[in-house]
Symmetry: C2
Subunit: 329 residues, 2 copies
């Protein structure tokens, strides 16, 4: 490009970057040719100089979870809007894979990392360590023990809203199906559940709080069958994910319990599934797309600040009550 115009590469570079010390006319000549030949600067050369790649890395446990893909959509779209590329890796909920992914991404010279923590990652040393080298923002599955920016939905308030909704229907013996692993999601939803009960003058009955490993439909089914087999009485059920709530509905139907007449049910997520199960499942809609959007926004902020101080803040996005047939008003 420089040769064609008989200019030095430095003049061309400065024109392209809009430096002030270039004459209008030459600058325009350069910009015109650049446009005509659809000139794109070589990213290797650029990266080698500036140590910036205009790319961010994303690590999630499982890309096939619908909610995760919704967040990814937000991430990809926002990143595209500001000219960033998105490199995606999966941890499969494994600690070691998460560690490897972080290293690979750092090695790829991404400018920052968006991380949704693996279930297995109790040990968080690797994240703290990495955050010394590169901006990291956590989203969805986070840990309060890590002093970084976290983008999540308001799990506690969402859970409280869900349970209040059941209480408003006169339900008093409300089951909670939660995750056994004490993730922040799980803890916060439990807190919301407890707070809704106590606000209504009820107390948490431990026998109604059931735990399961993977929060799958099958898990929800099994837990609920056990509950019924133990002849525990209940008239409401809050599944901390749509999946377990759906499994619970299937188990209750199988055992002759009518929903919502005998038991009101609500889930959490607003997955597509929740509209297909019969009766259709009331749920709390999670703002997946926006979580992705904000995650990118705050990460870019930290990338450009270029400060060594990692900010410890939590951004909570609102969930929304969606009432369907499993808990009519």
């Amino acid at each position: 490009m420089a040769e064609i115009l008989n200019l030095s590469t430095s003049t061309v570079s400065k024109s392209l970057l809009g430096h002030s010390d270039i004459g209008e006319s030459t600058k325009n000549r350069v910009l015109e040719l650049a446009k005509k030949m659809n000139y794109q600067p070589n990213l290797f050369g650029k990266g080698l100089r500036t140590q910036k790649t205009m790319s961010i890395g994303v690590i999630i446990p499982d890309i096939t979870v619908h909610y995760s893909s919704l967040i990814l959509k937000g991430i990809i779209e926002s990143a595209k809007g500001v000219g960033y590329r998105v490199i995606i890796s999966e941890s499969g909920h494994h600690h070691q894979d998460e560690k490897d992914a972080i290293n690979t991404l750092i090695n790829s010279n991404v400018d920052g990392i968006l991380l949704s923590i693996a279930r297995e990652s109790h040990d968080i040393e690797h994240i703290l360590e990495a955050s010394n080298f590169i901006p990291i923002v956590l989203f969805d599955k986070v840990s309060s023990k890590i002093p970084l920016t976290k983008i999540i939905d308001d799990d506690e308030f969402g859970a409280e809203t869900a349970v209040q909704h059941l209480i408003a229907q006169g339900r008093r013996k409300i089951v909670l199906i939660r995750e056994k692993c004490k993730t922040s999601n799980s803890e916060n939803r439990y807190r919301g559940y407890a707070r809704a009960l106590s606000s209504a003058g009820l107390t948490v009955d431990d026998v109604l709080v059931r735990e399961c490993d993977s929060m799958s439909i099958e898990d929800g089914f099994a837990v609920t069958e056990a509950l019924i087999a133990e002849k525990i009485e209940f008239d409401g059920l809050f599944g901390a994910t749509d999946n377990v709530a759906i499994g619970a509905i299937q188990a209750m139907k199988k055992n002759g319990i009518t929903i919502p007449r005998d038991v009101s049910v609500i889930g959490f997520s607003n997955s597509k599934n929740s509209t297909i199960i019969e009766p259709s499942l009331s749920t709390m809609e999670q703002p997946g797309f926006n979580i992705g959007k904000y995650a990118v926004k705050y990460l870019l902020e930290e990338i450009s600040e270029d400060s060594d101080i990692s900010t410890n803040r939590t951004i909570e996005l609102k969930t929304k009550l969606i009432v369907r047939d499993s808990s009519p008003i």
Copy 2:
């Protein structure tokens, strides 16, 4: 690294790359230190020299479609296995966005592109053009008009199997709900439908072949309601996607048609939804993960071949009949 060992950078580089002309002892000294300090070569430097990035780009219409995310899982996993990074972009089914994504990826110096074509992309010039510069492999949503490697599932045979299954149950008036847009998926499934009928001595009755735009649950519902309103008689229904089949089931249930007594139903995809609808939906399982895996495999092959000849071949992966309650044997 070179200074520490009092060696030249070239000696170090050669040791790392395993060149034959380096003494065993020095080579080992280098490799040991590399391991100890967890040395990772700078990708910019490397890329600037070799013009390879060890990264591939993926373009899909919509990441939130479960089947797409399953393919992505296969892509990400295979790529990781061979040290490749994956950059993902979405076209949103828009022609222009697809074009932009291709350009951005080429400009990012990815070594190759995996592309699932947008519904809107009738014009395929941009793909042909791009394939002159960079290896491209198509997957899932492909076009027979493009002479490149294509990885798809065996739609025609799958559809034939699905319809044969209905015929085996004595069904004769079999509805097909297909995509209006004549994508290769849609055409192939139609062909399979027609072939199954003719093998059984039946003919395609155009009034039983219905089309819809987006193949959503809502579309399937609407199309089926119309069918019922027109008082068309039918005893079997093949939805070219699970979603339309689910919508169809909902419409039939609403109109007092009992499944499978009155109508046998089968879908295509084996989405999670198909197990939640009642009755549970028979379907053809698509090999999403493997499509991703093979897409990477063939792309890497074309990258390393480094030949200018773009291969025109189609790899078809087998689908599998899954029988559930909507069409018991």
